[in-house]
């Protein structure tokens, strides 16, 4: 009997499959299709202190093997999430859920996290540090190790639940950001958020996205994500959640071999609403194929080649 379970920051997951924030809403649309309790957990829609309408449309553009989005963190705000979404979620999801939190100042993050930390249903808080810092000239928290660490320190000081920091790949040295977050008290790291990209409409000569640029996701980003998971997992001593273009059980195993303790699945949910259920169903057969009895045994299990300079 294949053992799919893993442990993420002290909480056991039946399997490492986690739908990524922004591709799964609060789970209700998927719960109409299948019993989402088969998931390890899921990371719900990125939540901010205030409700947000998000960016103007078009917000979606297609790319070879992927897509761009510039949704702009549309969400109903943390108070609505606690009053409406979490009670409704109880009717179809009975495992600890991952709360994804965004903010535009350290105070925003702390406010939102403090409210969510008090909710029993929530197992982990995933901090999205890719948003612009309004007090830092609009530069993303996640592009500066000190700014990212500042958010982590502020949140850790007022929360009890494990804090997983979701890193932006749009940096020169992602390991430096990961190490700064670990030092500031982060319980885990998740990566990668989307890669900044753009498309231009040849007929109108305007960017396809009304925001001009957006975040690339889908299979196109998988090798970049895998490389960053590998680098970060070999630098930090806290668990790493890998994501970026994962669409199959094979991709899951590759991410875990690179160093991921659990794996988030994003864009795949949008084109195939059964993607996560199917990956979970395929995992036992895939494990047999690669002679894996216990999935947690393969975390960071890839042996690197010796490098000659």
């Amino acid at each position: 009997m294949a053992d799919l379970s893993v442990e993420l920051c002290g909480i056991k997951l039946d399997n490492p499959v986690i739908p990524a924030s922004g591709t799964f809403g609060f789970g209700a649309e998927f719960a109409e299709l299948y019993d989402i309790n088969v998931l390890g957990t899921f990371s719900f829609k990125g939540t901010t202190r205030q409700p947000r309408f998000g960016n103007p449309t078009p917000r979606i553009a297609e790319c070879p093997a992927g897509m761009l989005n510039s949704v702009g963190l549309q969400n109903p705000g943390v108070e609505h999430v606690i009053a409406e979404e979490l009670p409704r979620m109880k009717t179809y999801f009975c495992k600890p859920v991952m709360a994804n939190v965004s903010g535009f100042s350290v105070e925003d993050y702390a406010y939102t996290c403090a409210l969510l930390d008090a909710q029993d249903q929530i197992g982990w808080i995933e901090l999205n540090v890719s948003c612009p810092n309004v007090h830092g000239g609009g530069m993303s928290f996640g592009t500066d190790p000190e700014a990212a660490a500042g958010v982590v320190r502020a949140v850790k000081a007022i929360t009890k639940k494990p804090i997983i920091v979701k890193l932006s790949p749009n940096v020169t040295d992602i390991v430096a950001v990961a190490l700064a977050c670990e030092k500031a008290g982060a319980d885990g790291i998740s990566l990668i958020n989307t890669l900044l990209g753009m498309r231009i409409d040849l007929k109108t000569r305007r960017p396809v996205l009304a925001n001009n640029t957006g975040g690339l996701s889908g299979p196109a980003v998988f090798p970049v994500a895998l490389r960053m998971v590998w680098q970060v997992a070999h630098a930090v001593d806290i668990p790493v959640v890998g994501m970026g273009g994962v669409s199959s059980a094979d991709d899951m195993i590759e991410m875990m071999l690179a160093g991921a303790t659990a794996v988030e699945v994003g864009a795949a949910n949008l084109v195939d609403p059964y993607a996560c259920r199917d990956i979970i169903n395929e995992l036992p057969e895939t494990m047999r194929k690669y002679k894996i009895e216990k999935l947690s045994d393969i975390i960071k299990g890839a042996n690197s080649w010796e490098k000659t300079l």
Partner: protein, 244 residues
């Protein structure tokens, strides 16, 4: 919503770049006119949302315009090939509000979803008028099909090469009780501005998922942001706050 694989039974041109595809499969999830399906195409990451023209007895009819590489790929598919779709998406039109003399307003490739709507309204014994607009005579399609259902049909062309010269808003009947509109945004905004009666608009936007989770296709309404794919694509006139 369900994930269903259909088999293509027909894929024929109606005009130079508008085609009709008929498919065999389970159409049970399409319960209202104005719903859509999201089509998976080999070689393309995102699905393509296409409005349902007709769905009856296991035959799905889609009318689509070739506007890019995805619909171009769709146009080359042959009878017997399979097409995976997410079916039964969106809210669709509310026929209970039509009154006795509903008016259907379609522009270009916005015409097809009004066909199933016409059938449903006629089945309820309504006196249905359709005004369908195109750019030019060569782009006109489905005039006869609407007429043979039993609608009164008016065709408009922007260049006057066929039917009434002008836009659908230049041929609005005076006694309509309620309207149902689908077409390009300038047409919808003209309908919004030029009608005294209430009605419904079917909106369009670039979509990621088509079933409400990516919130890529949000529009502004009087009650805040709504997802065109899940809360729409049909919105009541009173829900929209367009600046005309």
């Amino acid at each position: 919503m369900r994930d269903i694989t259909f088999e293509i039974s027909e894929n024929v041109p109606l005009t130079a770049n508008v085609r009709r595809m008929r498919l065999y499969g389970d159409t049970a999830d399409i319960t209202r006119a104005g719903q859509f399906v999201n089509v998976r195409l080999d070689g393309f990451y995102l699905r393509r949302p296409i409005s349902v023209c007709d769905a009856e007895n296991g035959v799905l009819t889609l009318i689509y315009k070739c506007v890019g590489a995805g619909t171009e790929r769709m146009s080359r598919m042959r009878t017997g090939e399979r097409l995976n779709v997410l079916t039964g998406l969106g809210n669709g039109y509310d026929i209970s509000l039509s009154g006795r003399r509903p008016l259907l307003l379609g522009g270009g490739v916005g015409v097809p979803p009004l066909y199933l709507l016409a059938k449903k309204l006629l089945a309820e014994g309504k006196d249905v008028s359709a005004v369908i607009g195109f750019n030019t005579a060569a782009e006109v399609f489905y005039e006869k099909e609407f007429a043979s259902l039993g609608c009164s049909v008016t065709v408009t062309t922007a260049d006057g090469s066929y039917g009434t010269k002008g836009f659908v808003t230049d041929a609005l009947p005076e006694d309509a009780t309620y309207f149902y509109a689908c077409g390009p945004m300038p047409m919808l905004k003209a309908v919004y501005a030029k009608t005294d009666i209430s009605g419904e608009f079917s909106l369009e936007e670039r979509m990621g998922c088509g079933f409400g989770v990516c919130v890529g296709c949000t529009c502004k309404t009087v009650t805040g942001g709504k997802r065109i794919c899940k809360d729409g694509p049909v919105f009541k006139k009173e829900e929209l706050e367009w600046q005309i």
